[in-house]
Symmetry: C2
């Protein structure tokens, strides 16, 4: 039987909570201790990630690796990306490639191949829908093999409304119209817990919008960025979730840079990350009304 990553995500959220740790690792985040050990940028990026993963693997529901940070370091950076996603995969923990790819026809097939097989293989990727619902089709063959996609719906940046919030003639925003289409598409790819492998990205900086989308899209699992640094609060998250499940909440710098920002005990960077992840997990559990 095929293991569906959407089921595994649901199970991990039940067991470990909603935290998705974002490994958006830039070379200037690396502490001196690692720089002294490792000479090359690719080794430094990977070693930093590896130690955070090892310190948080019983706290995080999953990891999200933001490919842009690695692409910015060229080929060597992408070596570190490949090594990081493969390390997480070997631990049997869900790993999302935050690649926000989006293209048409055969080109979309190429992106699907790039991120669901080979060097960069991950369990799920983020996808940009601007080019149309038909551009999602090349990913469906992989969903049948257990993979998942997170389609950008409503993002967490201040200017996200330029396109996403345009009001159509029938009084719906672009992201609502798109959400309805995604729900339909998702029906063909349902997991065991009534959540589909066609998932959505819904930022937690727009609490009312998130709550409305949750009501309209009961079978869509959410990746929720914007927590912490971008202003999203635990209190706002309850409405995005269903009995505390149905979504993962991403934090990147809030966790991986905790050693610089919130570290009165001067913990090593990986332990500081662990503490930040535990705090975040517990805050969300409490806000979601799950104090088990």
């Amino acid at each position: 039987m095929i293991e569906m990553i959407i089921d595994k995500l649901f199970d991990r959220v039940e067991h470990f909570g909603n935290v998705c740790i974002g490994l958006d690792t830039a070379p200037d985040y690396i502490p001196e201790a690692i720089k002294a050990q490792k000479e090359n940028v690719q080794d430094r990026l990977f070693e930093f990630n590896r130690r955070i993963i090892d310190a948080t693997k019983d706290i995080a529901a999953c990891y999200k690796v933001q490919i842009a940070y690695y692409e910015a370091q060229g080929l060597r950076g992408l070596q570190a990306y490949a090594k990081t996603v493969s390390y997480i995969g070997d631990l049997k923990i869900p790993v999302i490639g935050d690649v926000k790819r989006g293209d048409i026809a055969k080109t979309a097939q190429m992106y699907a191949k790039a991120h669901f097989s080979g060097d960069f293989e991950v369990d799920a990727i983020t996808v940009n829908p601007y080019l149309g619902i038909d551009t999602l089709e090349p990913y469906y063959d992989y969903l049948k093999k257990g993979k998942a996609i997170f389609v950008l719906l409503k993002t967490s940046n201040p200017g996200s409304g330029t396109v996403q919030n345009i009001l159509s003639k029938d009084g719906k925003t672009v992201y609502e119209t798109l959400g309805e289409r995604l729900m339909e598409e998702g029906q063909q790819h349902m997991g065991s817990y009534s959540f589909s492998s066609v998932c959505a990205v819904v930022g937690c900086t727009h609490a009312q919008e998130g709550e409305r989308l949750r009501q309209k899209m009961p079978n869509t699992f959410f990746l929720i960025p914007g927590y912490g640094a971008q202003g999203g609060k635990a209190e706002d998250l309850k409405g995005y979730l269903t009995n505390g499940n149905g979504g993962i909440v991403n934090s990147s710098r809030g966790i991986i840079l905790a050693y610089r920002r919130d570290n009165p005990d001067n913990l090593p960077f990986d332990e500081a990350s662990r503490r930040a992840a535990i705090n975040m997990r517990d805050k969300i559990k409490q806000a979601a009304g799950r104090n088990d």
Copy 2:
């Protein structure tokens, strides 16, 4: 003085015509002759591209390299991508990285760094605007240094309307609303020929829409995909252009696979590409009313 790529594109269109050759190279496009010479996928991809570039460099206005095809081959594919864009750059011919990236804040900065410096440096990239106009800002520092961006407006795929054609309350499509915003943004980045470094992607499979956008966006240079294989015709192109300039027309498989598709004389693949590029250039010139 800074050389602006938008000016160089305009000059090259004046001199060489409107053809943009799309190097969307998949391993199964490579002829046996190259496979016999080169063992590794990265060497094969690069050698195929190199020979096409050498055979067409006095025909093409520019090249567009579709990164998805290389990403699909993992790290080795991206080596070939890096080598290809750098080879074109060394010839002083404009090269567009068709990467369709789009992300927010610091992540967008990382994509700008990834594609406007280092291993993957190109003269211009394609950018996805779904996340909002504010997500273009990180690219502007590079525009000041002469680079350009092509923002997806109206694409050439059959399903492009899902988001792009949603009609707003005030009777405009999403792509028209976005086009107006792009025009405004572009005013800060004008080149010497009244075309801005903030350019747009407008597919040639929607001739009336293209013509209307040209009228509304007189200062926006267009990258026009969809020619040939996707159904776009030379006759339809006149309306996208201004006195035959203001746009480049991309063809990928129509040129790089000409040796398989339209090769009665059994020319070597690079010569077949050259002939296809010349045909396309001349057809567009004629359709645009430029028979100089």
